[in-house]
Symmetry: C2
């Protein structure tokens, strides 16, 4: 079936027009990066989705049952490529667009990441280390799985969980029965053995429709209650081999999934080994620092990758960090610091909600660590 060329340049009126499934801050920031490259955008919104982040940044199309295939392609303005800002999308709908334009990442790659069990099976099939795991549904099966894996465990719903939702931590057998009773009886879950990690890191990797790959340095991440609070890069890891593992794992996944776009992988660091926690078929919160490090950001590289353009620089010349603004308004004094950049998402303030982030950078790590800590204190106080 005919595929529309995904390489369009600002040449005699031809404009690169791209569509994004989703209207959140990741869509917003991909569009802002793409605008600079001369692209225009349309966004597909669920009927009840908040579109404040992208309203007036492109054409917002509300999803209806009739909008599939050609009709959807036309409503989206006949994009050269369609991409996603979240893994939880209707893969069947995406497949109906494939005769008309590039869908990147491809629906099968997205499918893998939509289900934690499927994702871990994929890793196992390709020799990539994950936490010990077992998929189970229903309390009896879950209990068996827990005893098989061995406490402590984290139980997660296989589908739809994010930012710490749909997860249950069971440290000891006393908590076991009580926690199991909290878990819906019919929902497929994965039981994961605890990984005794020293750090959590992630890698943002890119693969273009031409097959070209690029890797950002490992990022070190701090979470609180399952939500990312801050990141710093390059990560401080004990061994060079750890860094090489990350690139290798990323490369394997990119190639095996015939992946196009940005792929994000979260790891646990155990000694000098990396254990995959989860992947996301999209740009990632832990990669926002790439906007302010004098390189092509993850957002820009995603646009380049899905448009068949050469990938941009991924090796930063400074250290960089990011602090999430979770339910916190911006203090204008933050704007006064020279090596700091604020990114706001135009979302209304709610406790714990991701309303923006602050990027900072410094040539040396120690001062950056110090500044990040002070910034955290300034924004969150002693919380």
């Amino acid at each position: 079936m005919a595929q529309r060329s995904n390489r369009q340049r600002c040449d005699g009126g031809e404009v690169m027009h791209l569509a994004i499934i989703g209207c959140g801050q990741l869509a917003r920031m991909m569009a802002l990066a793409g605008w600079r490259l001369g692209a225009t955008f349309s966004f597909l919104a669920e009927p009840d989705e908040n579109t404040s982040g992208v309203d007036r940044l492109g054409t917002v199309v509300k999803r209806t049952p009739e909008l599939t295939g050609q009709a959807l392609f036309d409503a989206l303005g006949q994009p050269s490529s369609v991409t996603v800002e979240r893994e939880h999308v209707d893969v069947e709908l995406l497949k109906t667009l494939q005769p008309f334009c590039l869908v990147a990442p491809n629906p099968d790659a997205i499918l893998v990441s939509q289900h934690r069990g499927r994702e871990k099976d994929f890793m196992a099939a390709h020799g990539i280390a994950t936490a010990p795991y077992k998929v189970a549904t229903g309390r009896a099966n879950l209990k068996d799985a827990v005893l098989h894996i061995g406490l402590p465990v984290i139980i997660k719903t296989c589908e739809q969980g994010y930012d710490g939702k749909g997860q249950w931590l069971i440290r000891d057998s006393q908590a076991l029965e009580e926690t199991l009773s909290d878990i819906p009886d019919h929902v497929e879950c994965v039981v994961e053995g605890f990984v005794n990690f020293s750090k959590e890191v992630s890698i943002i990797s890119a693969r273009s429709s031409s097959g070209e790959c690029a890797y950002y340095p490992l990022t070190e991440n701090e979470h609180r209650q399952g939500i990312l609070v801050s990141s710093i890069a390059p990560a401080d890891v004990p061994s060079e081999s750890t860094l090489q593992q990350a690139d290798k794992i990323a490369n394997t996944i990119l190639e095996k999934l015939d992946y196009v776009g940005i792929l994000s992988i979260e790891f646990f660091v155990v000694g000098d080994q990396l254990v995959v926690n989860e992947i996301a078929p999209r740009v990632h919160n832990s990669g926002h620092w790439t906007q302010s490090a004098g390189i092509a950001s993850q957002f820009e590289n995603h646009i380049r990758a899905i448009s068949g353009l050469p990938l941009g620089e991924t090796k930063p010349k400074t250290q960089a960090a990011m602090l999430n603004l979770l339910g916190k308004e911006v203090d204008e004094t933050l704007l006064n610091q020279g090596n700091l950049e604020i990114h706001l998402y135009n979302k209304s303030l709610r406790p714990g909600r991701k309303v923006g982030h602050v990027n900072l950078w410094h040539i040396d790590r120690a001062p950056l660590v110090k500044q990040l800590k002070e910034l955290h204190q300034q924004v969150y106080g002693d919380d």
Copy 2:
């Protein structure tokens, strides 16, 4: 008359909404900078104005005779501030908005810059050096003025000229009669004596609605046929006192005009002295490098200034440069260079048309100069 507060933050749903008169690339880039700070935008377009640069980046409002005052304020979405991307705007129309929101820069400041004679009179009144000049209309008066100033001269229309249009260079008396016959007989002109300059430089300066001022380093500019081709900063000038003069002149103009926003001043360098060429009440082509120097760009600082936010860092930590893309499409190999950033305007390609620019940076000047030269060769060949 009640003034709406121009300080709005992303706080509980309140969003900073700004309006820009104009839909060109300067409006586009101000909006892209402002989006990151959580602002939204509307744009006022002349009836026949090309809006491709900003379509879907905000609400585009087509100007009609009924849209003045309250009607215009409402059509623009009740912005907290209204600003401009060009000096050639309807100042009377801007004044009708002043009861409803901040108009920055103020209409009187814009008026000064709209007329070359008025602009030079303003400089003279405040002890700021310009080229020797005389305003005249009609060939007889122009001839008198030319003889009074002394050849060689440049004759420019007092209003509406830009990028080298509406200018006539007269080197010697043989060219005088012939060139004078080219100049429309009824149009007010200014006759400027040649300035024997070593370089052309410019300064991008900022003054916030709070009165806070900030200055970017001097930029060195190369023109061809009156159009900016490339810039490099900080400018290489023979004396520290030259840099201080620039800040002092900028400060004088900012204060005397009670100016809010970015003010751009172009100078001739004569020995270690600065002679003002012209000013622009807006962001400027020679300041695009500020987007890629790890500081708050001129676009961001303009948004901050008109919103009463603290001004951002203006002192870059690297050398930076910019090459205009004049009627040239982007060669994708340009995307491969690590210290280079492309900005496209979504304008269709026409000979000599500003369709985008490329920013580049380096810690040292010599390699940057070399790279800029090679880039110029790559884009323009031996043109």
